[in-house]
Subunit: 400 residues, 2 copies
């Protein structure tokens, strides 16, 4: 009697959710401090002080009817202008408030963009490992979802695989850098090469292949040398999907945006279709108070030093035990090679030590596990001896 | 290159939006105080004090990571339990927190419910006049949208039309009481008759016809004698779609819920499909801060006395000029019969007097206009002589 696809999506719990429930159960049995949950990508660092200050000031200063009233569907004009001005200042971006559409976070940015672009028969490419919901979102918009391999070990784009998969039905390539789950960042050279490749295809096909850039981790990089290119500066046919969930530690408040590069092919039609998709999906407008908070705090971040410390401690500790892992420049995940090919079995074995993390299978990348370090530094410190004992079970070569 | 349907939905401005822009233009030309805009359903009364108090207290008391973090997809458990307890206390409802799913407002409640229920070939019925976006939402979920007439003049359900239209492909009937745009409330007798009719069809077809009740105006009634029945008490196969946009004057904050009656057919499957639809559409969770605000303020309302005063003044004034209008028990609209059949022409003529309102054509009900009284009482007072002059153009019979 109900829609079968929706029922399946709603009743099959995600693996991450399963582990979350398992962690709660174990915590009740042996105490929360003895369970080491590295499965969830929920920011562990408070929102920067500007957020709560902005909330209190805005509530005090703006009259209720105006503050809590509908904004236009694309979002409050002043707020959009402010964020666009910041992006111009930070990245020299060619972007204005009229290119912005506020959304209820990154997931909404993606579903709205996909519904706006997808025509019958369209295909969407993404490099593995990828956030599992991409498949749900692409297929929900009626598109065909095609994952591509990345280069083994580096998780940079596999251009040969891209070349083989590319065809005139491809409407867009989704890129996610800094990447969940690998932590890898696509540098300027990679983005430049991608852009050149896609420009070539545009010429060949007579129509563009859009880039949908999913960027909730844009600011979460930890080394001075790591630059996250602002992709519309390199490739015109780009839709930037952004969220403040990670940068401002606001995942529950559902605030983000889509920015359509004004240089994109059919930019005005794409923007109109985004307005139409938002309307059809029932979004009306993004939460009004948090549109203002985002505009005031855009460019600021939660205390990233905590994540940097966590990354260094965990990456150093795990590689010293002999685990193999690409160096993560950003986001808050390590993507660790499973000592034996079956990553699910590895996850199960880790549970003996109360170490909880998720298999790469769920990210389209078997043989790896994702270990989230958006946890307390103390948890990492206390978990390291357990990781060491786990490594010993596999006789991993110890690294000095 | 973009999805044609989405482009059409996003580029064809709604009539209400057109008038909104026209009002801004006229205000610039002749001064805002000389433009009488009755076109928009945006609450004109501030949120009750409890809202901003709750925001400030919650921000002060709950640690940032917990407050602004993801809630479960269906919403914070404590908040759901609290609202369910209120509904049990207010209506003797058979409902628990586990039957609740928080949404980003009424539009999201509807799109999620429709996606959850709609199977290929399914049809959805609604009595005219109806909120225009219903058609967009039903068709977006892949359903067939079928409007039915109401009884002429009273805007109560036309049961003969319902009987004629009903068939085994009908998955649900959407009801909206208090109604936008007519202000009409379905009383206990009407709901009882509807319920009996649908129960008969369930027996006949061997499967239920769900009621989707769109109830953002549930609390907006102005006379002691007006009771708004809590529909799950009368009909088991009910999904309540609620929003705090009007009751708490929070339309921009996007907070509402779906409550699936635990007595509904396949209630657990319907709830799971709702979770799946919310996931596929990209909602993740409803805004976390406002889940808590809603739970704290549920059952309270903005100052409805203002709307009652506005209604009495405008209804009295317009009927005294000779305009004909069903008595509006709730919501904040008058649905006035156009003096001549072409309601669009009537709207145009009213513009001469700087009186702005929208044609009933957009609500599936030609020959009427919607006049929103969620404006300042002063605006109504100053507009009445203009309505009188407008009436005189049509030689309407004056009423003493």
């Amino acid at each position: 009697m109900v829609n079968k696809k929706m029922y399946a999506l709603g009743s099959r719990r995600s693996v991450i959710r399963e582990i979350f429930e398992y962690a709660k159960k174990r915590a009740a049995e042996i105490g929360g401090e003895n369970v080491f949950d590295f499965s969830i990508g929920n920011p562990s660092v408070p929102a920067p002080a500007c957020v709560d200050e902005a909330i209190e000031r805005i509530v005090r200063e703006i009259p209720s009817v105006r503050l809590h009233g509908y904004t236009s569907a694309q979002g409050d004009k002043d707020c959009r202008d402010k964020i666009a001005a910041n992006l111009r200042a930070r990245f020299g971006a060619d972007i204005s408030g009229d290119d912005f559409y506020f959304t209820c976070g990154a997931a909404a940015s993606l579903t709205i963009s996909l519904h706006a672009l997808a025509c019958p028969g369209d295909e969407f490419l993404v490099f593995a490992p990828y956030f599992a919901e991409y498949k749900v979102f692409v297929e929900g918009a009626g598109g065909k979802f095609t994952p591509l391999p990345s280069e083994d070990g580096t998780f940079q784009p596999d251009f040969a695989a891209l070349e083989r998969a590319m065809n005139p039905s491809v409407k867009a390539l989704i890129v996610n850098s800094p990447n969940n789950p690998s932590g890898v960042v696509y540098g300027e050279e990679t983005i430049g090469r991608l852009a050149a490749f896609l420009r070539g295809k545009k010429k060949e096909y007579g129509h563009p292949v859009y880039l949908i850039t999913d960027e909730p981790y844009r600011e979460l990089v930890y080394d001075k040398k790591t630059k996250v290119p602002f992709i519309p500066n390199y490739y015109d046919d780009t839709l930037v999907c952004y969220s403040y969930s990670k940068s401002l530690s606001l995942p529950g408040e559902r605030i983000g945006y889509i920015a359509v590069s004004p240089r994109a092919a059919d930019a005005k039609a794409v923007y109109a279709a985004i307005c139409g998709a938002g309307r059809m999906l029932g979004f009306v407008c993004a939460p009004a108070l948090f549109q203002r908070v985002a505009a005031e705090c855009d460019g600021k971040t939660a205390d990233l030093e905590v994540y940097r410390r966590n990354r260094d401690l965990l990456y150093g500790g795990l590689t010293a035990c002999g685990f193999s892992c690409v160096y993560p420049d950003g986001a808050f995940y390590l993507f660790v090679r499973s000592p034996k090919p079956d990553a699910n079995a590895f996850c199960e074995r880790a549970k003996k030590y109360e170490l909880l993390f998720v298999s790469g299978d769920d990210f389209g990348c078997p043989g790896y596990v994702r270990i989230a370090y958006c946890v307390s530094t103390e948890q990492i410190r206390r978990a390291l001896p357990l990781f060491k004992a786990l490594a010993a079970e596999y006789s991993l070569p110890k690294v000095k």
